[in-house]
Each structure stands twice: as structure tokens, then as C-alpha cells.
Symmetry: C2
Subunit: 313 residues, 2 copies
């Protein structure tokens, strides 16, 4: 069972979510948006688990706390929203220690405040035995920018597909690497939204790999995304295949109108056109790829490249 | 190190929380309250950990999901607020199984919707190995009622202290019991707030035991609470000492003005006067109890009775 299937199960069977007076953007995007008597609020939650998203034994503790918050902040960037506040829950091994716990939360607080989403609430609990792993969850609240939140569902045939920064190789085999130090692209996203206005059609942050994340845009927008392998901006230490599939880059992938005046960089962060949006493949199409990578003359279905964890069952 | 000390450490060193334009009620109450350009929103988070708050091996899965949400809903009751929405994060053992995962989330969704706080977002992840325990966190959002949120800090000398329902014995030695089936007292709290108006001064939900939770009111309000042991409404299977200290009742404890017209029951839930509020003990007082229990002629300091977990270090 894939994690995303589980979430789909929850949300598809929920009648309350179809109450249009409350839920403006339901589950399935980077954040949900609710309507509080005319005031719109975005909310999303993400987890950091020792052994899954970080290896506590080899990672400086302040980078563990940093990533726990930054993962959720990246979802705010994906919606081009403005951070408001953060709530944190942490389950710690009983032998975690006062000094490390303080370091962990100091680093969480620092990164949350750096991005204007101060920690307003939290819950801390200790596991019953020391073999149990650290689990942190961070819920972030945000407000839409003047041009409104950017969802995954607005891409249109003819749009150009862009990514920010460089992709791939974020997770070093030793457990360290850029996945611990990435900058959530909140400022870049807000500048994109204000510069492009209505020409910014869809956006997502690249957490699972460009192939899989672009497929989320394609599926929600009911389109196909084609990516030119040669144009994918790769980090020095990896090729386009890894840049497409590694995940944990926390850069942005977005679709903009073909005539949009997209800058080549924003605040020092490179912006690269990597492909385009086409109509969704027909039902009769034998291989209904949501994302197609063009590698010279070859075409590769890229929907399932990337990082999706499954359970054993 | 106590869990509450850790949270204090985080929040006391946070400059951003003193930005009065955002944070109306900071950490330290049942929920925080922020100000979104004039619209007030309450937010809080709580966790459910296998081995700590529930024993997965002996507990029907739908009661696990129920408690994961109901714990957080009880914080909404404590503030006499109106539920808005819920976000859930769950870390599951990899062998948890599809059926149980679906049951878990169906029960979470059902209780969230029953109390008008639909699940609008979630994150699910699997642990890297089957020995790792289930950890759920639930963040709840709420709006203050017309009379505003009721905090822990408004109790005044002369107030009468009440509790709802019956206390003690919630956690059966076999792991089951009322801690799995309690009703968050949201309706009771809203009716109290509308009936008593400005006469409802302070409130908390009883999760750690009446002694410890009343001490939170006493500390935040800078008063002393005295409780008459004979008046504590006990469940059949326990005495006043357990009713004072067991915790996990998720009933309400509140302080109301002495002339307030407090009903004897609300919607079938008994409301009982158990004590009163006095001025805080002076600095020179040798035993500066925040909560004093009167048992016949004996007086007992009850601040530390109840349920506060510590780490080993």
C-alpha cells in the first residue's frame, strides 16, 4: 500500500470536505485551504522520522530540527503563500537527553522564525523505551498571497514547465547532504506569484523527485507534462536520471503561460525551463503517461520515477 | 526532564511570540490563539503514542483512532471554542496492514466530523522497521465563541471551582477503559460559556489529573486552589485520591464567579463544585502549594499529584 493511496482513501470518503463553505482547497494539494468567514487560511502537516527522513545517529541535531520544520515550510512555498505560524509535535526516545532536546527545539524555533512562521504550540512526549525512534510532525499555517494560492491543478496545454535551482543527489549515501540544508523557496515563490500574476498556473515542491511531482501536477490538472532530459538542471554530482528521481530537493516545479515573462533567476536562484504541458493522453492511448521524458530520440514514462514509500503489506 | 519544562524552554526564548500583532494567546494554555488581520484562530497539537497513551496490542483499532483525535478535541473544549478543522500525521509500522490503516483513519475521520472538525490534511509515513511504534499527532483549529476563549489565567480569589462528570479510574490496568471512549466536552463548554458569560473565568481539561491540572490554573492565574476531597465526584471504581491523580478523564475543571448561576448538569453531564480560589500563597510561606486538598482536618499539597511523564535523563 502506498502512503498516497491511504490518504486518498481517507479523503474520498469524507462528506464534510465537500462542505464548500469551509474547505476551499481540499486534501491532495501541498496544503488545504479553509474559509473562515471570508478570511482564507492554508494548513498542512509533514513528518520527520528517524530512519526514514533522517538518520539521527549521523546527523548533527540542529540539522534534524531544521529539516523537521523546513519540509513543512516548503509546502508553503509550493502554494506561493505567506507563512503565519507553526505547531510541532515530537516523540523522543526516553534517553534523548536534555541538551539534545534543547538543541533540537532551538533549531526548530530558529528556522521557523527565520521564515516568519513562529512556533505557537507544541506537544512533547517520550517513548516508553529507548529503542523507539524520534518522530516529529510540523503543522504550518499560511495565508494566500494577493494573487491567491497556486495549486497543482491549474496547468494548461501550451504552458511551459520550469524548475528552480539544481536537482538530484540531495541525499548523500552517508545520510548527510543537501536534504538537510535546503532553503524553502518561499521568497522565490512569492516573487514568482507577484511577477507572473495570472500567468503562474500551477506549482509543487519537488520532494519526491521531479518525475513523480510533475505527475501530481499532470494528474490534478488533467494534462501531460513532457520534460527534455537535456534541460534538467543537475547538481554536479549526478546525471539527469538521478535529478529526475532522487527527490528531497525541495525546489519548485511550476507551469506558466507560454507568453509569461519568467525571469532566468530570482534572488540568485536559477529558474530553468525544462518542458511543456500537453493535452492529457486519450483513454485509448496504450501508455497513458502523465509525465514523458524526452532523451534524444527516446521517450520515457516518468510518472513513477521518484520517491514513494510503500508498506510491506 | 519533564515534558512541560522542555516546552517552557522553547517558548520562553522565542522573541517572535512576543509580536503582539500575531500571537494573542501564546503557548502555555490548552491552545494558542493568533490574530489574522482581525480574525482570531485557535490552534493546538497533541500526540498519541503506542506504549504511552494507548496499548495497540490490546486496543480495538477504531478506539486508537478515536482517542488520537478526541485528545486534541478536548483542548478545544478547554478553551470553550468552536471546532473548525483537523490535520493528522501518522507514523505506522511497515507491517501495519491496509485494513487496519483504513480502520484507523476511518475512525479518526468519524470522530473529527462528529465534532465538526473535519480532517483537511494529513501525512502518513511508514517506519523503516516493524518494531517501531505507531505515533499519531492531531493538530486542531478552532474559533473562539462569542464570549471569547476561556484561558487558564483568569481565576480570581473568591471564585468557585467546578468539575464536569466523574473522575478517576479512566485507565484500566488491562489498557482499556474510559480513556478510550470519553466524550470531548465541547458542547458542555460552549453552553457554560454562553450561560455564564463573563462569570466563567478560567478553564482547563483534566488530562493529567485534577491536582496537576488545577495547579496549571492556579499557576497561570497566580492564585491558590483549594479542593474539598469529599466533594470530588468519583467514578464507582475509585476513591478521591485516584480521582485527583489518575488523569485521562478529559472532563473540564473551571473557575466561576461566586455569584455565577452554574447549573447542576449540562446536557446530562453532572457539574460539581469541588473547591474555591484563594489568593496565591506569599513568598514567605514555607509550603507554597498551588493546590491544597482538604481531607477532613488534614491538608494535602496536590500540585504534583497526577500524570506528568519524565524522561530518564
Amino acid at each position: 500500500m502506498r502512503e498516497s493511496d491511504l490518504l486518498e482513501h481517507i479523503f474520498q470518503t469524507s462528506k464534510a470536505l465537500r462542505r464548500s463553505d469551509l474547505v476551499v482547497i481540499g486534501p491532495g494539494d501541498d496544503m488545504a485551504m479553509i474559509n473562515l468567514a471570508g478570511r482564507r487560511l492554508l494548513a498542512g502537516v509533514d513528518q520527520l522520522i528517524d530512519g526514514r527522513h533522517v538518520r539521527l545517529a549521523v546527523t548533527p541535531i540542529h540539522l534534524v530540527g531544521r529539516k523537521a520544520i523546513a519540509r513543512s515550510l516548503s509546502d508553503i512555498a509550493a502554494m506561493a503563500a505567506r507563512p503565519v505560524a507553526t505547531l510541532v509535535a515530537a516523540a523522543l526516545p526516553p534517553d534523548f537527553g536534555v541538551d539534545r532536546a534543547n538543541q533540537l527545539f532551538d533549531s526548530m524555533r530558529a528556522v521557523a522564525e527565520q521564515y516568519n512562521a513562529p512556533i505557537i504550540g507544541g506537544d512533547i512526549a517520550f517513548h516508553s523505551d529507548p529503542s523507539k525512534p524520534l518522530v516529529c510532525s510540523a503543522t504550518v499555517l499560511a495565508e494566500p498571497s494577493a494573487t491567491g494560492p497556486i495549486t497543482r491543478s491549474g496547468a494548461r496545454p501550451g504552458d511551459i514547465v520550469f524548475v528552480t535551482g539544481l536537482l538530484g543527489g540531495s541525499l548523500h549515501p552517508n545520510g548527510l547532504g543537501r536534504h538537510l540544508t535546503f532553503e524553502p523557496r518561499i521568497d522565490v515563490a512569492l516573487k514568482l506569484a507577484s511577477t507572473l500574476g495570472d500567468d503562474l498556473h500551477a506549482m509543487i515542491d519537488i520532494s519526491d523527485g521531479l518525475g513523480r511531482d510533475a505527475s501530481h501536477i499532470a494528474e490534478r490538472s488533467n494534462v501531460q507534462v513532457t520534460i527534455d532530459a537535456a534541460r534538467i538542471p543537475c547538481n554536479d554530482d549526478c546525471d539527469w536520471r538521478r535529478a529526475l528521481s532522487d527527490g528531497e530537493d525541495y525546489e519548485l516545479c511550476f507551469a506558466a503561460a507560454p507568453n509569461a515573462n519568467v525571469p532566468g533567476q530570482i534572488g540568485g536562484v536559477q529558474v530553468t525551463a525544462v518542458g511543456e504541458v500537453r493535452p492529457a493522453p486519450g483513454r485509448a492511448s496504450p501508455d497513458r503517461a502523465r509525465v514523458v521524458v524526452q532523451d534524444g530520440n527516446r521517450q520515457l514514462k516518468a510518472d513513477d520515477l521518484g520517491w514513494e514509500h510503500s508498506s510491506e503489506s
